[in-house]
């Protein structure tokens, strides 16, 4: 029975299709930590990402191709080389890094203007909520000017990659939106 349904499901959602998802954000926001939390369910020790990491994972029967791009100033210009065919962008913000909220906001809006990302859904993680003094999701939302975004499904979710909180909630929302809009 289960098998029967799942193969029905596969046909419906086209199991061959792989969804490309980008994780972007400033350096140190927690992108790499989130990627491996998703893939292996653990917290790994990270080094600054020179370039990118890419992992394929299955989430709710969907094959996701998740790209975690380095966030250092020197690497941001290369983000655009990886925009094509992107279903969704996960933008990660270090909620404790108040000084760089402006920079994060600027990079976010710059990126969303790109032609190739017009159809991509946006999920923002207000990360590092476990830290004292972290801005709340709505405060981060304000800093990032999210309400200005039109013609795009977006959501902001408070998260802690270290504790594993908020990550699957955010991803569930994202997958639903993608299924609705793109499949």
């Amino acid at each position: 029975m289960g098998n029967f349904f799942s193969s029905m499901f596969d046909r419906l959602w086209g199991v061959n299709k792989e969804l490309r998802i980008l994780i972007l954000g400033l350096d140190g926001a927690g992108k790499t930590t989130i990627l491996y939390r998703l893939q292996i369910g653990e917290v790994v020790t990270t080094k600054p990402t020179i370039g990118f990491n890419v992992e394929t994972l299955t989430y709710k029967n969907l094959k996701l191709n998740v790209w975690d791009l380095g966030g250092q100033t020197s690497i941001r210009p290369y983000w655009r080389c990886y925009y094509a065919d992107t279903a969704a962008v996960i933008f990660v913000v270090d909620s404790t890094d108040k000084d760089r909220m402006g920079t994060a906001s600027k990079e976010l809006h710059l990126m969303l203007q790109e032609e190739e990302l017009q159809d991509a859904a946006l999920l923002v993680f207000a990360n590092k909520q476990d830290q004292p003094g972290a801005l709340s999701a709505s405060e981060v939302s304000k800093e990032l000017n999210l309400v200005e975004l039109k013609d795009r499904s977006w959501s902001i979710v408070a998260s802690s990659a270290i504790k594993g909180e908020g990550i699957s909630e955010g991803l569930d929302w994202l997958i639903d939106v993608i299924k609705d809009e793109q499949l």
Partner: protein, 932 residues
């Protein structure tokens, strides 16, 4: 049922033809960006791309970068074989694409978590993506890969570390222990199934890679290298033959740093000559014989003859590569000490007919060197028999050897010239080939007076039917230069004029110039007049250049009757130093501020007379015989330091290049000197010495000195290199004091210090003296004085608050001797010239130091600045006597000076008897009395 099937071909054309570049590019861009990735097709396309690049095709940077980014997307696919192709592509694209650093994280992940299959590829590609700022982040990964039990992984990590040394030596230097461990650890492949028992369990190449790296890490530490050799030469420690060869090279490095060490290694070297690997035998024989060319007294006769007999045995091995390699080494020895390998002559002779042409050619050229005056003609007739069968390249090598023969045995010029003439006329060949023959004949014309006219006549015959403009022009120039001084000038005029009638305008122009030189012949008025007649006729030539040259020649000839300038213009006695002329002209052209109103000043460019030019040429030839015998082994030690380059690119260069760069360097020193304002008033430079080392090459401050002479001044130039890494030197000067203060005739005028010398910089400090006209000899004691200032590691500049402290450093003395007032010069017939000269002086010396004959000879040549003639610059081995013939001219007044030095070696030491004659009596006695 009708069966009709069709299977689509998978785009691989059976002929192996490659689609065109644009198609490949488009296919790659489309396919690599697809999702999901089609691994098989991507691999196919990458292999096409690689083939395209391997064929020498390339992409503009933007396309290469686009390709790189799309290939980087293939990291999302986990297939190992696709990943291997991706690594190959990254390696190839790294040279032409930008931004390859974007692959760094993905590569490092493979190094950490990838399968054993792709780990080596990943490790090797780190070389291409890391730079100074990211190298440290791979430290831990590389370190643990170096100690991996898997030989491929360990080797890859070692090679990458080696290649990263110029980029980030700080990081790699921390691997010393792990690298050492990798030599000791005999790593084996893991056998996966039964079938693999047929494969070797290991080649132990890791040992070679590890030894290569450890050598780079410890190369500045002599003791550590000695320990290394001790550790790995004993027992069975090294299993890989390349590692053993590397160890031989380390020994080579060590004995060049400290020549006395050779005796410690004697037993080891002897055992290596018996190694079961030919490569080790060969490298060892190479080391021993090349070391012996410069330090023959340190190499025992037994060791040397063992090396030669190893090579001799190798001449009859079935493997052609070994035969060839052994021959090459023997050939080098033959250039300096042919008598030492005469024992190999039977083997060499049997190789003349070797089926491999490279081998037979080398055998013949070697035999030509080991040949003695007795067998030259028989050798030449042997060559003549097979000469027409070999390719142009080999012909050129043979011609070259024959040419050397003519310099070494001038009295045997006849069969040599006959041979050259024969092959010049009766064989087919391209420009380089014909040119090499003509060059050899020209050399005979220049250096063997008794053969001159016959050789020139042969050239005349040749140009009657020569298809190469360049060669014709050269020969015409030679005829013009030498023809007027021969017994039958009219012969040459006839041949030259034939060219005017028959050839194209380039050659006609050259012929006009050559012809005009005959117009000034003093004792043959009818000939001179008919040359003028010919030139007048030519001034109607249809070609502008030819006409112009004829007209201007006629003008010069006319004015030469009243005015010596005309003669000088027609038949110049001087040539300018071409490299400094070129440099000055370039800067004159580029710094033009007044529309060339100021004329170009030619006086500061050194001029040479005919004989000086010949002397320099001959000297260069003598040196190039010498330096071509030096092995790359001696070079790979001291030149790999250049930053930014791959290490291996620095390990190989030709010896001649080196000679050339020495020349350039001395011109550079002179240019720098003359550009300094304070020296302008000293007038023109009369002579500059060669460069003398004044410290050990391993000293903290490496100093060498050059002596420059002006008419009434002497300038000592000290080139100082700061080899420390963390200290700058401020206000660097040299304090020179005369050894004999009382009687010194020199008065110190001023010193130009170096303001600041940063680590690894070289700069010059000058000390100027006033000197009376004429020859002054003096010995200077020298002290380097400076203020050391510690550097801030961040700014690489001295700390502001650090005042530094004064220090001094004693360097070797520098002696201004009679030789500094002499320039080497050439004469065709030394004995006749010597007999003609007046003012004989004789002096006798006893040398107590233990020196070889060759070292004494070398020292005499340097000290006198004279040219060694009649091939007397080489000591004949197995004898204890030598006669050295030296010739030169005064740099002050151009008077000739000749010297015969008899050298006798006995148990008590070396005795010299010098007999000198010169037109300048004081110079002659100063030279003879100040030899050593």
């Amino acid at each position: 049922m009708s069966a009709q099937t069709y299977k689509k071909k998978y785009e691989i054309s059976p002929s192996g033809d490659l689609p065109d570049k644009m198609t490949i590019y488009q296919d790659c861009m489309n396919t690599f960006n697809e999702s999901p990735v089609n691994a098989k097709r991507c691999r196919l396309l990458i292999s096409r791309l690689l083939r395209l690049l391997a064929n020498g095709d390339t992409f503009p940077q933007n396309e290469a970068t686009a390709l790189f980014f799309s290939i980087s997307k293939l990291f999302q696919h986990q297939s190992d074989s696709l990943r291997q192709s991706v690594y190959l592509a990254i390696k190839e694209l790294s040279g032409i694409s930008e931004d390859v650093l974007m692959a760094t994280s993905s590569i490092m992940k493979d190094v950490q978590n990838g399968s054993d299959l792709i780990k080596p590829n990943a490790l090797r590609s780190l070389t291409y993506v890391l730079d100074e700022s990211t190298a440290f982040s791979a430290e831990r990964l590389l370190k643990s890969a170096v100690v991996s039990k898997n030989p491929s992984i360990s080797s890859a990590a070692l090679c990458t570390s080696y290649n990263l040394l110029p980029i980030s030596d700080v990081t790699i230097k921390r691997f010393a222990n792990e690298t050492q461990e990798a030599i000791v650890d005999l790593k084996q492949f893991v056998l996966l199934d039964e079938a693999s028992e047929f494969y070797p369990t290991s080649t132990f190449t890791t040992q070679y890679h590890a030894l290569g790296l450890i050598y780079q890490l410890k190369r500045n530490d002599k003791m550590a290298l000695l320990k290394l050799v001790n550790q790995f030469s004993s027992g069975n420690a090294l299993k890989n033959q390349f590692a053993m060869v590397q160890l031989v090279k380390i020994v080579d490095d060590l004995i060049h740093r400290d020549t006395q060490l050779i005796s410690n290694f004697e037993t080891l070297l002897t055992s290596w000559l018996d190694s079961k690997y030919e490569s080790v035998q060969l490298e060892t024989a190479k080391l021993i014989t090349s070391f012996a060319t410069h330090h023959s007294h340190l190499v025992g006769n037994r060791l040397f003859s063992n090396a030669v007999s190893t090579l001799q045995t190798m001449l009859s091995t079935p493997r052609v590569t070994s035969r060839f390699a052994a021959l090459r080494v023997l050939n080098r020895i033959s250039m300096v000490s042919p008598e030492k390998i005469v024992v190999c002559n039977p083997e060499l002779e049997s190789l003349i007919n070797d089926s491999n042409r490279n081998v037979s050619t080398y055998a013949i050229t070697t035999l030509l060197k080991t040949g003695t005056a007795k067998n030259i003609s028989s050798l030449i007739s042997t060559i003549t028999k097979f000469f027409h069968e070999v390719s142009d390249d080999f012909k050129i090598i043979i011609i070259d050897a024959v040419r050397t023969l003519s310099l070494n045995f001038p009295q045997e010029w006849k069969p040599i010239l006959d041979f050259l003439t024969d092959v010049l006329k009766n064989s087919e060949g391209g420009f380089n080939y014909k040119n090499s023959i003509v060059e050899a004949i020209i050399e005979i014309v220049s250096f063997i007076p008794q053969a001159k006219e016959l050789a020139m006549e042969q050239l005349c015959d040749f140009i009657e039917d020569c298809e190469f403009n360049e060669i014709l022009v050269r020969v015409l120039h030679l005829l013009g230069k030498e023809g007027p001084h021969t017994s039958t000038p009219s012969l040459y005029v006839r041949h030259i004029y034939n060219r005017v009638v028959l050839e194209n305008s380039i050659i006609r122009s050259a012929a006009v110039v050559a012809l005009s030189k005959f117009a000034l012949i003093k004792n043959n008025t009818p000939l001179a007049e008919s040359v003028v007649g010919l030139l007048k006729r030519i001034s109607d030539d249809e070609d502008d250049e030819v006409r112009d040259r004829a007209t201007i020649s006629l003008k010069f000839i006319d004015s030469a009757k009243k005015n010596p300038v005309g003669e000088e213009l027609l038949h110049s006695k001087y040539t300018y130093d071409l490299s400094s002329l070129e440099k000055k002209l370039t800067s004159y052209m580029s710094s033009n501020s007044d529309a060339f109103k100021t004329p170009f000043d030619v006086t500061s460019i050194p001029k040479y007379t005919e004989d000086e030019v010949k002397a320099m040429e001959l000297k260069k030839k003598q040196q190039s015989f010498n330096s071509s015998t030096e092995e790359l082994g001696t070079k790979f030690t001291d030149e790999a330091e250049e930053t930014g380059k791959r290490l291996d690119s620095a390990t190989y260069h030709g010896a001649n290049l080196d000679e050339h760069s020495k020349d350039l360097q001395s011109t550079k020193y002179i240019d720098e000197l003359l550009s300094i304002e304070q020296f302008k008033e000293f007038g023109s430079l009369i002579n500059s010495s060669k460069t003398f080392p004044l410290t050990e090459t391993e000293a903290e401050f490496v100093v060498n000195g050059v002596k420059h002479l002006f008419k009434e001044h002497v300038v000592l130039q000290f080139n100082i290199t700061n080899t420390l890494t963390d200290v700058a030197l401020d206000n660097v000067a040299v304090v020179c004091s005369s050894e004999d203060q009382e009687s010194s005739e020199l008065k110190e005028l001023f010193t130009i210090p170096v303001d600041r010398l940063l680590p690894s910089e070289e700069s010059a400090c000058y000390v100027a003296f006033k000197k009376p006209e004429g020859v002054v000899m003096e010995s200077f004691l020298n002290n380097l004085t400076f203020t050391t200032r510690e550097l801030n590691p961040d700014t690489k500049l001295p700390f502001d608050d650090d005042e530094g402290f004064q220090d001094e450093y004693e360097i070797d003395p520098l002696v201004l001797n009679a030789g500094d007032y002499i320039k080497s010069s050439f004469v065709g017939d030394f004995s006749a010239s010597f007999d003609e000269l007046p003012n004989e002086n004789v002096a006798v010396y006893n040398v107590q130091e233990s020196m070889s004959l060759q070292e004494v000879i070398d020292k005499l040549i340097v000290n006198t600045s004279c040219l060694a003639l009649e091939n007397t610059q080489y000591a004949q081995n197995e004898t204890n006597q030598h006669t050295l013939k030296l010739f030169g001219k005064s740099a002050l007044n151009g008077t000739k000076i000749a010297l015969i030095v008899k050298i006798v070696k006995s148990k008590k030491g070396i005795a010299l008897k010098a007999q000198g004659r010169g037109e300048d009596a004081t110079l002659s006695s100063d030279l003879v009395n100040g030899l050593m």
